[in-house]
């Protein structure tokens, strides 16, 4: 355990020294500032318009907030991808890994330490960003989503899922190949989410089944849909889905229990597989 914590600390130190933290902080601050500006602008326009039902304002507020979170989701996913793809393979290539693992530390502790360090970074990033976005919407427009806490938890879970799969890949694949595979899976899951949505609109079962199948194989987009569902307001959802439609990139229902359980088990399985692969690996 001390070995894992030593490695986790080292991982955080690396992020600090390589100015990853600084760059992320500056980019995030700029992102939140831009979001606040655009949000207040749009909210003001909607209020001025002839909006007796309040629907236009509602639409502006919710879609802005969820789109902002959508961007956070992508940023968090990319951060998870960038951190994880070379988490083992890059050190193996440089030979630094050999020196570290010749020490009396278990390989599982090493991998767990790396995971903990990255997971801490990702969690801090996503929590800070999504809390900032919800705060902007709450302060400017008094917006109350269904369950912002669940939104944040699901977004964190998604990034940890990507991290775990990426770290598993890093124990068996070279950095670049791992990045290509992981990015491909992430894109595929996104596409499948849209296919499933359209399938639902068109009442086309094969399309729905395809989307569900891919979501089971790689549940990143399913987690986003869950997170985005909880970030909307009940009135907005009932309004947009009234005619059987909705917004193709937003979730329209709370995630099903089994899917959620699978999405929690999924990163754990990959982490376990990564530990097994790494323990047996010749370096």
């Amino acid at each position: 355990m001390t070995g894992a914590l030593t490695v986790a600390r080292w991982t955080l130190k690396e992020a600090g020294r390589r100015r990853l933290l600084l760059a992320a902080a500056i980019a995030s601050a700029a992102f939140v500032a831009l979001f606040a500006l655009a949000f207040s602008f749009l909210y003001g326009k909607a209020k001025q318009a002839d909006d007796t039902s309040g629907l236009l304002t509602l639409f502006a507020v919710v879609s802005q907030t969820v789109l902002g979170l959508y961007a956070v989701q992508f940023l968090g996913a990319f951060l998870a991808l960038f951190l994880s793809v070379g988490s083992i393979s890059a050190d193996a290539d440089s030979g630094a890994l050999h020196a570290m693992l010749a020490r009396p530390i278990r390989r599982s502790a090493f991998l767990a330490g790396r995971w903990l360090g990255y997971a801490g970074l990702l969690t801090a990033y996503i929590v800070a960003m999504s809390v900032a976005l919800f705060a902007v919407a709450g302060i400017i427009a008094g917006y109350h989503p269904i369950d912002p806490l669940r939104t944040v938890l699901l977004l964190v879970l998604e990034s940890l899922l990507l991290l775990s799969v990426g770290m598993f890949g890093s124990t068996v694949l070279p950095t670049l190949a791992n990045g290509v595979v992981l990015f491909g899976l992430f894109g595929l899951a996104w596409l499948a989410g849209v296919v499933e949505f359209i399938g639902n609109v068109l009442r086309n079962d094969p399309m729905v089944n395809l989307g569900v199948g891919v979501s089971l194989a790689f549940p990143s987009d399913a987690l986003w849909r869950g997170a985005s569902y909880f970030a909307q307001s009940p009135a907005f959802i009932s309004d947009t889905t009234a005619g059987g439609g909705g917004i193709p990139f937003f979730g329209t229902a709370a995630p099903a229990g089994p899917m959620l359980a699978w999405a929690i088990a999924y990163p754990l399985l990959f982490l376990a597989a990564g530990l097994l692969a790494f323990r047996r690996k010749d370096l």
Binding site: T2, R18, G95, H98, A102, P104, L283
Partner: protein, 355 residues
């Protein structure tokens, strides 16, 4: 730096709180039996069997790709052997307790460039289970030992290749290991750096630390090692004390103004003429102390003597004979002209062996 190297003579003196190391003090520090490693269809190690005793400086010598790095990686537990056994300090290689007592310098490495040398040393000290106080006292010591005093706060990014290698050596020595595995430790060093490494290795051995040195540099092995195993294509092709390997063959190289039948028959009284090249005659002799007699004989017969050079076979000769693909004469004499340039021992033996 050389002074500080000898200051580490107490390398075996462990501080309280340091992990105690298993293994009987009497048994070999490294022992492998029929060690085999296959990577797919490529066989990196065939039936490698060797023993290294405590306090020995053991040279593992072979061309690139001979399996030296694989052998060391098995000893550190980084690579699992396909079959056979590998023991370090009486326990299975790669055992966590064993790794506490082993210092390792990998062959190719680029340490984390964003870190300073001290960051890296503290991190490795933690991984090795060294308490903070032990790290604080030991880190300046090892930096001094490798000649990097005062540079510990610099980022590794700013280090030259040679300095990086010195940091690698400092890491290997950090936790006061009982066994140090050095994989090509001087590949990036200039002559001064190489001499420094020799002094460090000698000082370690003086303090009872066992050193396992992988090298394709004959000069390095010749200069520091007590015992050598020559490895080629995953097999040990020769091993033994350096003196035994290099053998008793002594030669006199006689440079004169002219060579004729009369001269050859005259010098043959003191040995066997093995080579005539231009006006230089090589004479295999039992004892090099026949030199003055040979000189008198040559001058007395009216030849002009330009040089009389005693030569012992160098490790390079042995090496080339064993792995160079040249067939050695059955009588153990030095190989035919062209196979070896045949420099005087110690003179030109800093040759690298082609892979």
């Amino acid at each position: 730096m050389s002074q500080s190297a000898s200051a580490d003579g107490d390398g075996r003196h462990r501080q309280s709180g340091d992990p105690q190391v298993p293994g009987s003090p009497r048994g070999p520090v490294v022992r492998t039996v029929a060690l085999r490693k296959e990577y797919g269809r490529r066989v990196a190690l065939h039936e490698l069997t060797l023993e290294v005793g405590r306090g020995e400086v053991f040279g593992f010598l072979g061309p690139n790709g001979a399996g030296k790095t694989t052998a060391v990686k098995v000893l550190t537990g980084l690579v699992r052997p396909t079959s056979g056994t590998a023991e370090v300090l009486g326990r299975p290689a790669g055992d966590s307790e064993v790794r506490r007592a082993v210092g390792y310098l990998p062959e190719h490495f680029r340490f984390q460039e964003w870190a300073t040398a001290e960051d890296l040393l503290h991190f490795h000290g933690r991984l090795a289970g060294m308490p903070a106080a032990a790290r604080r006292s030991r880190i300046p010591e090892v930096l001094e030992l490798v000649g990097l005093s005062g540079r510990g706060g610099d980022r590794i990014k700013r280090y030259s290749k040679g300095m990086t290698q010195r940091i690698g050596l400092a890491l290997a020595l950090l936790a006061r290991p009982e066994l140090v595995l050095l994989d090509e430790p001087t590949s990036a060093l200039d002559p001064v750096g190489r001499r420094d490494v020799r002094l460090i290795v000698r000082a370690l051995a003086g303090g009872g630390v066992t050193v396992f040195l992988n090298s394709h540099l004959l000069s390095e092995v010749e200069a520091v090692c007590d015992r050598v195993a020559v490895v080629d294509r995953g097999r040990v092709v020769a091993s033994g004390r350096l003196g035994d390997l290099v053998g008793p063959v002594a030669q006199l190289r006689i440079a004169v103004d002219r060579v004729d039948r009369e001269l050859l028959s005259a010098v043959a009284a003191h040995g066997e003429v093995t080579e005539v090249e231009g006006t230089t005659v090589t004479l295999a002799v039992d004892q090099l102390d026949v030199g003055p007699a040979v000189a008198e004989l040559v001058i007395a017969r009216g030849y002009r003597l330009y040089g009389l050079i005693p030569v012992t076979a160098s490790l390079e000769d042995v090496f080339v004979r064993l792995v160079g693909g040249e067939t050695a004469p059955p009588d153990g004499r030095p190989p035919a002209p062209g196979a070896v340039t045949g420099p005087a021992r110690g003179g030109g033996s800093r040759a690298e062996v082609a892979s």
